[in-house]
């Protein structure tokens, strides 16, 4: 029990450190939401979205902007650690690699949720997309859990490569696609007022999340040693 409490304190320390650094290094806290808003704006002009098309196009626009903003979020996750030597400092500390992983994944999750909230507001303002549904909220949360978990792992892998900004999406997107497809399908159903895909895709997203939450920390511990 004492170990669990200690581990939670370490996890909370890593999480709060990352949040503090995100707010202190203001570049990322502004650039990622702005990038997402620009994406929505581009889609708006490129597809010439009219009010009667919003329901058809909104799910795709929503999740593409979430996904690309998410990749930017993941990219910064280990770059800062690597450049400043913080990761080395964490690795010589007597803490489990799992806690480091979950601390980083949790900070990525929270940052993505914040960005997604801003992008939902932008969608409402620019496209008139207004859907209030607990199913949509649950979909966003579950998808973001999977995205942040897998993204954190691939961020740790990509940071060791020379062209890390390119490597992360190349490695990451093929594996996250099932979750993203599920999220788009569920969002379409929520907007359309039906529920067939919800019962099919939401559990699948949950299963992928569970798999990622088990496998990713294990792989992280294995790859991070050297």
């Amino acid at each position: 029990m004492l170990t669990m409490t200690n581990n939670f304190h370490v996890f909370a320390a890593i999480l709060s450190k990352d949040i503090l650094l995100d707010f202190r290094g203001r570049d990322i806290i502004f650039s990622v939401p702005i990038f997402g808003i620009l994406l929505i704006l581009l889609f708006n002009f490129a597809l010439d979205v009219t009010p009667d098309m919003v329901d058809d196009l909104a799910p795709g626009i929503l999740w593409v902007s979430f996904a690309f903003s998410g990749v930017l979020t993941m990219n910064r996750s280990f770059v800062r650690e690597k450049e400043q030597g913080g990761l080395e400092g964490l690795l010589i500390s007597p803490i489990s690699r799992d806690i480091i992983f979950f601390g980083k994944a949790a900070s990525n999750f929270l940052f993505m949720i914040l960005v997604e909230f801003v992008l939902l507001l932008a969608l409402a303002v620019m496209l008139g997309f207004l859907v209030t549904s607990w199913v949509l909220v649950l979909t966003i949360v579950l998808t973001t859990i999977g995205f942040a978990t897998l993204g954190t792992l691939f961020s740790a892998i990509a940071v060791e490569t020379r062209s890390r900004e390119v490597m992360l999406p190349v490695l990451f997107f093929p594996l996250i696609i099932p979750i993203l497809i599920g999220a788009v399908e569920v969002t379409s159903e929520v907007i359309g007022g039906t529920s067939g895909a919800v019962a099919r895709w939401l559990p699948l997203i949950g299963i992928f999340d569970a798999l990622f939450l088990i496998i990713c920390p294990w792989l992280f511990s294995a790859i991070i040693q050297e």
């Binding site: 200690n6 370490v10 320390a13 503090l20 650094l21 800062r80 030597g85 913080g86 010589i92 007597p94």
Partner: protein, 242 residues
């Protein structure tokens, strides 16, 4: 210091390669409790690799390694809890203050009285007046002092220092020497590398030279002996090898 069993550091038959390139082979090393061992070696000799293995940041290909009495293969966490490391980088975050960085690491090491420990080490390295400044505003030497503060924060039994005096001014170098002296007076062990032969010979209880992937320990701590071992026939009378 009854809990200090065996040797501070014990390495037997250590081998390490990167790809096909062997860096360390059949390396043997001992650092006793209450002793500073200074390790010299030319650039690329494998000093940093050895220190990374001892601090559990890298794995050896083969060999037996014990640090602070713990086996490096099976007892990583015990070693990490009992070792303080000063590396080339400060291992801290530029956008956090000196105090915030130390508080963060104090939590990583699960120190009981965090505030007291942090204040103590800040005073120890003379950075209490800059404690609330962000790291990016500190000079290289100050960051090095902070790295020393971080390494000693959890009162480790073994200190592993990679060129700790690099970038330090004269006063800070003397303070570091005093700190290490006090450290070994308490029965703890220190292994450090340096290129500064004067500092190394002054601070060391024993010296060793890492060359060709193995340790060549020398009996005397004479500057000339060390230079001869390090630079061999390439020594020229008109060059200052310090």
């Amino acid at each position: 210091m009854s809990d200090m069993i065996g040797k501070g550091i014990l390495v037997q038959g250590l081998c390490k390669s990167y790809g096909n390139k062997p860096v360390l082979w059949d390396l043997n090393l001992e650092v006793n409790w209450g002793e500073i061992l200074v390790l010299f070696g030319a650039n690329g000799a494998g000093k940093t690799t050895l220190l990374r293995i001892l601090s559990t940041q890298a794995r050896a290909d083969s060999g037996t390694i014990q640090v602070a009495g713990y086996n490096a293969k099976r007892q990583h966490q015990n070693i990490r809890q009992n070792v303080g490391v000063v590396a080339h980088q400060s291992l801290m975050y530029e956008d956090m203050t000196a105090r915030e960085n130390l508080m963060f690491y104090a939590k990583m090491y699960r120190i009981d009285d965090i505030k007291l420990s942090v204040e103590e080490v800040l005073v120890r390295v003379g950075l209490e007046s800059r404690a609330d400044d962000r790291l990016r505003t500190l000079s290289h030497g100050m960051k090095k002092r902070l790295a020393i503060a971080r390494a000693t924060l959890h009162d480790p039994k073994v200190l592993i220092l990679d060129e700790p005096e690099a970038g330090l001014d004269e006063v800070s170098t003397v303070n570091l020497g005093n700190l290490l002296y006090e450290w070994v007076q308490k029965g703890k062990a220190v292994l450090m590398t340096t290129h500064n032969i004067d500092i190394g010979t002054n601070w060391a209880n024993r010296v060793a030279i890492l060359s060709n992937g193995a340790i060549n320990e020398i009996d005397s701590i004479k500057v000339e002996d060390i230079k001869r071992k390090l630079y061999g026939n390439s020594m020229r009378p008109d060059v200052n090898y310090d």
